[in-house]
Amino acid sequence: MENILEIKNLKKSFGDKVIHRDVSFGIKKGEIVGLLGNSGTGKSVMLRCLVGLETMDDGEVWFQKKRIDLLSEEAMFKIRTKISYAFQSGALFDSMSVYDNIAYPLREHVNLSISEEEKRVQDILDLVHLKDAGKLFPSDLSGGMQKRAGLARAMVLSPDVILYDEPTAGLDPVNVENVLEIMRSFRERGAAGIFVTHDIPAAQKVCDRLMVIDSGRIAFQGTVEEFDNSKDSVVQNFHVSL
């Protein structure tokens, strides 16, 4: 199966600090790939580059066989309805209710009647176990609920790929399980995903493949079993550091 989303030879620096030296990888339709690495290794920067929120110093991004890194900001708006981004903090609009946050992408990109919109939003709220939270504001939600609302907003347009930026960070085990279950249900609906995390057990539970990023390069790439049995020093060190 061909890659649905692919990044080739990514190079990225901030001033003198080199983040990515030469990173290439791809994901296939319907699979979830875990991107592991210690803090500061540029995992989130890579996600931002993939969706054009950050410019690359060099490299290419291909989505559904089209190169997208050269597109204008306006042209990227359409791409971002197919590659959605679930922010670490949820990044919900604090002046809007949870319902309006989730309805926002629908109102911007899909022409729906009010009843159709309500059905779509309620459906996704049920999926993330926030059935009765529609009228609440982000400040009324717990951290876990905010993340789930952020996931709902990322999924509401039924994108082909979801970029999960540490969706389980800072959550208790029950909420981590909830988030992983949501990610699985998104995959069942056909959404591929890149799961940025340093939570190895969480990644092992939900991912089809794992990658470890270190010193600006992909140091390991393989299945969960290969990761568990790897004698690679970077993988070993990563296990130890956590």
Binding site: R48, V51, L53, E73, E74, M76, F77, K78, I79, R80, T81, S84, Y85, F87, S89, A91, L92, F93, D94, Y104, P105, E108, H109, R153
Partner: protein, 253 residues
């Protein structure tokens, strides 16, 4: 020194780029009319009471000062003309704009700055929409619609305030006062007030939005952004007022 100069050039360049993007978004769909109306209420309608107070007090003070100053030369009769012209050409646009810079300029910078540090601006982009269309254009349009109307209102209220003082302190008849005001103020004076306020509204929102988008360092940065906007936009308003006045005098007088 060179680094500072380069920084200033970059700053001006970014303002020009933001202006170009804003005007392009202003005249091409999609339009966010509801957001514009919300901002007119937020920026304009909620500044009404303080504009009325400021305008009224300006009228009182100016009439008092000009009245006693001109009385020494027997020129009290010129007070209505001087007060009304000063108000509509200079005092109302400047004071209303400085007030708005303090009240809404800082508010816009703080709001957009807080959205920036909490990744809400990134979220707007990630959801396939433009922060300039969603945040900047509605605020700029609302300010450019509201501020001139507030400036005209401040002038109107100031003239009424002046009438009370002219009557109480200088025994001037209301009929004489308003007759003098109406024969002094021409349509181009109203236009001049309108143009100045519109330009100042543009400056305030441009600075506020730019600073909001460039806010860093969390909540501390949000506070700094609000202060920065008030100081910078006030300076630019005062300096550009001189040049605008010169241009408008050349055009109309």
């Amino acid at each position: 020194m060179m680094a500072r100069a380069r920084h200033q050039f970059e700053f001006v360049g970014e303002l020009v780029a933001l202006t170009a993007k804003t005007f392009r978004c202003m005249f091409t769909p999609p339009f966010y009319w509801l957001r514009v109306l919300e901002q007119i209420v937020e920026l304009g309608q909620r500044s009404l009471s303080i504009t009325i107070v400021i305008g009224f007090v300006m009228g009182l003070v100016m009439t008092l000062q000009f009245g006693y100053g001109l009385a020494k030369f027997g020129g009290t009769l010129y007070v209505p003309a001087i007060v009304s012209l000063s108000l509509i050409r200079e005092m109302a646009p400047i004071f209303t704009s400085l007030l708005v810079a303090g009240r809404i300029g800082s508010g816009i910078a703080a709001e957009i700055g807080a959205m920036n540090v909490s990744q809400q601006i990134d979220a707007i982009r990630a959801l396939g929409t433009s922060p300039i269309r969603v945040l900047v254009v509605p605020r700029m349009v609302a300010a450019m619609v509201s501020l001139p109307l507030l400036g005209i209102l401040a002038t109107f209220v100031g003239i009424i305030g002046g009438a009370f003082i002219a009557r109480a302190e200088f025994d001037m008849a209301y009929g004489f006062y308003f007759n003098k005001v109406l024969s002094t103020i021409k349509l181009h004076d109203v236009f001049s007030c309108y143009i100045k306020c519109m330009f100042f509204a543009f400056i305030i929102t441009l600075f506020a939005c730019w600073r909001g988008f460039n806010t860093k360092e969390g909540t501390r940065g949000v506070g700094q952004a609000a202060t920065w906007v008030v100081v910078r936009s006030s300076i630019v308003i005062l300096v550009s007022d001189f040049f605008l006045s010169k241009i408008l005098i050349l055009l109309f007088d």
